[in-house]
């Protein structure tokens, strides 16, 4: 598709089509967008997704509820605990299982730490998009590594945790959990400070990101964007606050909201969310009591009664929803993963058109897409 540009010349002027991706350093995986550019100005964006489509929803219909957990990790591979949480909460809601308190607190701690690690990943990737040669990336990975070490000690795996179970947790956390979390939080505070000092106030970064890729609150809602993209536009919608799950109604935290809705606001919202996550984990640690991590009476074979449920949790990228339809039996009849990046990507065109090519990269980066989640 080429758009003829209005011109005074007697020859025809065409936009050049630039194909970005699926192999391009700025597309965060296998995302592809075709840009129609007039000089340096983007006139049209055609996003293409699906390169990582693995038929996850179809596969989940063939897996029983225990087997499905492992697959959820692989859809959202930067916020695995959140993905698992949605899945197991859907099963629990259908089966009407009461989860013990301790298990819920631990789930909360792990999910918030996961949010930290995911946002660290964002700062790194976005820093690289904006051109900080590797420094932001290595900073981010250096601090994310501490969180991943903790997760590995608890769950045994660095990425694909498969730790939550319908009803609770797979096994108890390590004995030195409290010290380790405290240490990791200290490290994270230092990390947030470093990343913040490196990038947030840098004039070059501000010049690049402020007033770029603006999406208004109405448009953001209309496109169905979620998470920091929506909050960056000034809509204080956070599932943790508005529809509390786990024990989010018992901890105190603030929801950061941007004022302009540009790339810079999305960055600041995420940085602030990291601080809030540290706060939440601290409160959770104070309330964590010894106790069981699984209900006393759990059926050996997980079978749900017929029914349907739409579970939503606030993953780092926004609302991660699981729509599970059961017709009885030990596997879902239909499992729909409502992915945050999928909806956020829809708004990409609205944000990018009229900006520079270099800005299109930044805008895509500010959406913080995970292709595993987008394509499922």
């Amino acid at each position: 598709m080429t758009n003829a540009v209005q011109s005074d010349h007697d020859f025809e002027v065409q936009d050049i089509m630039i194909n970005m991706g699926p192999q391009h350093p700025a597309t965060h995986g296998v995302f592809r967008m075709v840009l129609a550019v007039d000089g340096e100005i983007v006139r049209d964006v055609i996003p293409h997704i699906g390169y990582m489509h693995r038929g996850g929803e179809k596969l989940s219909e063939t897996m029983d509820f225990r087997q499905g957990i492992g697959f959820m990790d692989r859809t959202e591979y930067l916020a695995q605990f959140n993905a698992e949480l949605s899945y197991v909460m859907a099963v629990e809601a259908l089966m009407d299982i009461q989860v013990p308190e301790r298990a819920q607190w631990i789930r909360m701690i792990l999910c918030e730490l996961n949010r930290l690690s995911s946002h660290f990943m964002f700062t790194g990737a976005f820093g690289t998009d904006s051109g900080v040669f590797g420094t932001a990336f290595t900073y981010a990975f250096r601090w994310r590594e501490e969180i991943m070490d903790l997760f590995e000690e608890i769950t045994g795996d660095r990425l694909m945790y498969a730790y939550f179970r319908p009803g609770g947790l797979a096994w108890e956390v390590t004995d030195n959990f409290a010290q380790r979390v405290k240490y990791v939080l200290d490290q994270c505070r230092q990390g947030i400070k470093d990343v913040d000092n490196l990038i947030t106030n840098n004039e070059v970064f501000k010049a690049r990101t402020q007033n770029v890729g603006i999406i208004s609150a109405e448009d953001a809602i209309d496109w169905g964007t979620t998470g920091p993209v929506l909050r960056g536009s000034g809509v204080p919608f956070d599932v943790r606050r508005d529809e509390p799950y786990l024990f989010y109604d018992q901890v105190d935290f603030d929801v950061p909201v941007g004022q302009v809705g540009d790339v810079y606001d999305r960055w600041c919202v995420r940085i602030e969310e990291m601080r809030q996550s540290v706060r939440i984990v601290e409160q959770c640690m104070a309330k964590l009591q010894p106790g069981p991590i699984m209900p006393e009476r759990m059926p050996r074979m997980l079978r749900t009664p017929p029914g349907e449920v739409y579970i939503r949790t606030e993953a780092p990228r926004g609302e991660y929803g699981i729509y599970m339809v059961s017709k009885g039996g030990n596997r879902p009849h239909r499992l729909k993963i409502r992915s945050a990046c999928f909806t956020n990507l829809q708004a990409l065109k609205d944000m990018s058109v009229g900006n520079y090519v270099a800005d299109a990269v930044l805008i895509l980066g500010s959406l913080d897409i995970v292709l595993g989640e987008t394509d499922r």
Binding site: K58, M89, A93, I221, D222, Y245
Partner: protein, 175 residues
Amino acid sequence: MTNEDSAPARSLDGTIWPQVDRALSGITASAERAVLDVIVSIPRDEVVRGLKALKADEALAFDYLRCLTCVDNEEEGIDVVYHLYSTKHHHNLTVKAHLAPDDLFVDTATTVWRGANWYEREAAEMFGVRFRGHPDPRTLLMPEDMTDTFPLRKDHPLAEIEVLQGEGIAWGVEE
């Protein structure tokens, strides 16, 4: 709260159903209560009108489309499921439109929320549901030429598993 009791005999008391019923005056709608949300079933021909009414209603203001998907009920046809949310009043609603198996089309919801665009493209290629009036009816996740098979339908088979192990042990595929 997700983990609250959800008794099997769920009544519609205390839900937003009365308001929804009022907003949907003139549209045939029936309601049931699922584990978390109220499910409103609207006939196929009226569903977009109903969705518009739900969005426009002051007391409901369903301005946010959470999710749009289909459920294949095999011989009973396909349900199109809309999950709505109101960022103003913070309440949820599930809307269902039933499609007969030989008559798979429904009006597009992109006229109500632009965000329905990709969801409908995905549902169209995965279930073969045609969304009438969709602005961009290309495939989304599937290859451009894959328009005759619908992977998420129940009759679509899984791929064979390549077996690398065993000394000539035959290994079937379960599904």
